[in-house]
């Protein structure tokens, strides 16, 4: 096991495209770090630089104590799991798993023992003599995992390993990989575009956008205090509602004007974010997580309200999602994967108690917990937290 350090790692393709821009990350020994971002953000390129499949334009990559910028992939003591499995189709499951070991020249008895052990961990024993073509997607993915763990590598690299599985299997394999990681305690760099995978699996999560690192933190920190608008919009499902608003103070009472609605801020909001005072009368961006809103009839009467028309409700059983219009202009968080053209510009989503009687078409009053609002500078898109 080893500590992995990326120091200002940069990748420029021959055509001049800057895929990864000065990415600095430290992955602690035994840590599970998830690199997440929308498609094309450079996360896979970063992983492939760590693997040695992509040359490093500038920066330093250290695995353990060794700088490995110019070390061949096979000498980096890493194992990689590919998105599309990349199994050797002409070899049986047993020989697929044994492949790296036989290349390393291990004695046959030792290879057999390790393959058996890996197959036991991944419950592949009955399939050892099958060929990849005879396996289901989940089984193939487990074989790919087996081929990785059997080598006992310093670092595991996983490139969207679950994205080719169907939804149910993905949830299952997600737990399986997490369990495997707890058991092996191997340093892992896991790349995904799925923020749910990132949140559930990572010890820490690094969010990338357009080749640059946005924020690296524990999942809960990322969710509760995003550094900027992009992270705020990317992490969380349904996504945070972000709207342009105006901040105003009146005799020491601060309020946010969201279109026709006015939300009076709790005193604690300004107390914890004194910097907000500098935005008096200015345009800012306000972020409201769906769960920071509640049907007013079921909420604390002291909270400020938004009055709107519910357009659609989605009963999830545990929650009720209310889609409603708000006349404040929306803000582009910069996530290219959102469906801009489908999104009605003024649509917001609230996650309310399932006992709420709201039906589509109803006029609804939503109580907003202003202490859970997020504020961003309208120019820089950076969070206002101090």
């Amino acid at each position: 096991m080893a500590h992995v350090s990326l120091d200002r790692l940069t990748k420029v393709y021959p055509n001049g495209f800057l895929a990864v821009d000065a990415l600095s990350l430290d992955i602690e020994d035994g840590e599970f770090l998830v690199l997440v971002g929308p498609s094309g953000c450079g996360k896979s390129t970063a992983l492939r630089m760590v693997a040695g499949l992509e040359s490093i334009t500038s920066g330093t990559l250290t695995i353990g104590a060794e700088t490995v910028n110019d070390v061949q992939p096979r000498d980096r003591n890493i194992a990689m799991v590919f998105q599309n499995y990349a199994l050797y189709p002409h070899l049986t499951v047993a020989r697929n798993i044994a492949f790296p070991l036989s290349l390393a020249g291990l004695p046959k008895s030792e290879i057999d023992a390790k393959v058996t052990e890996a197959a036991r961990i991944l419950e592949l024993e009955p399939l050892l003599e099958n060929r990849p073509a005879q396996l289901s997607g989940g089984q193939r993915q487990r074989v790919a995992m087996g081929r990785a763990i059997v080598r006992d590598p310093a670092v595991f690299l996983m490139d969207e390993p679950l994205s080719n599985l169907d939804a149910k299997l993905r949830v299952q394999m997600r737990a399986e990989i997490a369990r495997l990681h707890r058991r092996l305690e191997a340093t892992t760099l896991y790349v995904t575009h799925d923020q749910v995978e990132a949140m559930t699996m990572g010890d820490r999560v690094a969010v990338m956008r357009d080749g640059t690192l946005q924020q690296t933190d524990e999942p809960s920190t990322l969710y509760d205090s995003p550094d900027n608008l992009f992270v705020a919009g990317f992490i969380g499902s349904p996504a945070m509602n972000v709207r342009r608003a105006r901040l105003e103070s009146d005799d020491g009472t601060w309020s946010v004007h969201l279109g026709h609605n006015r939300l009076t801020l709790a005193d604690a909001v300004l107390a914890t974010r004194p910097a907000l005072a500098g935005y008096d009368g200015a345009e800012i961006v306000v972020g409201i997580r769906p769960e920071a809103m509640e049907d007013a009839s079921l909420a604390d009467s002291g909270m400020p309200r938004i009055v709107a028309d519910a357009e659609l409700t989605e009963a999830l059983g545990s929650d009720l999602l209310v889609h409603f219009h708000l006349d404040a202009p929306t803000v582009d968080t910069g996530d290219p994967d959102t469906l801009d053209d489908l999104d009605d510009d003024t649509l917001m989503i609230a996650r309310v108690d399932p006992r709420s009687p709201v039906r589509p078409g109803d006029r609804v009053e939503l109580a907003v917990d202003t202490e859970r609002l997020h504020f961003f500078d309208a120019e820089t898109n950076l969070a206002i937290r101090t």
């Binding site: 693997a51 990349a86 492949f99 390393a104």
Partner: protein, 327 residues
């Protein structure tokens, strides 16, 4: 596939109208071909086979029978004999000697098949998967040699084999040997060397097409698993390229086995080294006195590539890559 789907949707329409209505010319042609009844094709096949079939029948008939009646008579009158086959395979100087000639053919065709495949497979792998400076230029140059007809190089090559290549430095009179005199004229080696050289562009082109289409992730996985280029070539590329290798083997073996021109140019008058093609051509003798053995000789000669074809046919497997990557 699409045609089948359309059939289910509109079962009453005829194939041709459906194809025409789709508006795509290739569909139209396909539909038109599909409308040809199978029995008509069988008749065409039989007509096509008549010359070959009649030669085969005649190869089992005596000279007299061949000269006095048509092959169809043998169905009623019989008179089958294996004498012609016995003659051509005997060691008699006049009609026979085909056994030795077959050995010569093998001595040419086997190295002329195996060596180009071995070299071309490695070259194709390098062109497809090893990045090096000038790769594209070199590949295009290699493949463009396909346009070179081998006839133009035959005599220079023969000269090279017979006397080597020497260059007198102007002024000084010193002679520099560019290619040593290996005294290869008249030997099977000269023939298979020539075949090997001329097979290379096509072999590289064919195998490159196949090898470059193998999934990239396989090579990446192998590199991470600890494989160097040789291991990747030997343990991944070769096993996965078996269909392409088998196809080229058949093609190249057939071509070298049936070659006449290169063999007669390189071997010349050295009758002991003649491959079967030259031997058979010389069997008829002056004024066609022994032409009755020609068909027997031809079928002996043709039998070998057929054996090769049937032996390699089982390697034409589809779906060799199934289960490797999911796209």
């Amino acid at each position: 596939m699409t045609v089948t789907a359309t059939t289910t949707a509109t079962p009453r329409q005829s194939t041709t109208t459906r194809a025409r209505s789709s508006g795509r010319p290739d569909r139209f042609v396909y539909g038109l071909l599909r409308s040809i009844p199978t029995w008509l094709l069988w008749i065409l096949v039989m007509l096509w086979t008549v010359p070959t079939g009649s030669l085969l029948l005649n190869s089992f008939r005596t000279r007299d029978a061949q000269r006095s009646s048509g092959w169809w008579v043998s169905f009623t009158e019989g008179g089958w004999t294996l004498d012609n086959y016995g003659d051509v395979l005997s060691s008699s100087r006049q009609t026979g000697g085909l056994a030795q000639a077959l050995l010569n053919s093998f001595a040419i065709a086997i190295p002329a098949t195996v060596i180009p495949i071995a070299i071309a497979a490695m070259a194709a792998y390098a062109f497809a998967w090893i990045p090096f400076r000038g790769r594209e230029v070199l590949f295009v140059a290699t493949v463009s040699l396909l346009a070179l007809p081998n006839q133009v190089a035959l005599l220079p090559l023969l000269q090279l084999f017979a006397g080597g290549a020497h260059w007198t430095v102007p002024g000084s009179g010193t002679v520099v040997t560019l290619f040593p005199d290996l005294d290869l004229a008249g030997t099977p080696t000269a023939v298979w060397l020539t075949h090997t050289a001329f097979a290379m562009p096509f072999a590289i082109f064919l195998l490159h097409n196949y090898i470059s289409s193998l999934p990239k992730e396989l090579f990446e996985a192998a590199r991470i698993d600890g494989a160097d280029h040789f291991t990747i070539f030997w343990r991944l590329v070769l096993p996965l390229s078996v269909p392409a290798l088998a196809a080229f083997t058949i093609f190249q073996f057939l071509w070298t086995w049936n070659d006449y021109l290169i063999a007669i140019t390189m071997i010349g008058a050295n009758g002991a080294n003649y491959p079967a093609t030259i031997k058979i051509a010389s069997m008829a003798g002056e004024f066609g006195l022994r032409e009755h053995v020609l068909s027997a000789g031809a079928f002996v000669q043709a039998g070998i590539p057929m054996l090769v074809f049937f032996a390699l046919q089982r390697y034409f497997v589809r779906g060799l890559l199934a289960g490797s990557v999911k796209s």
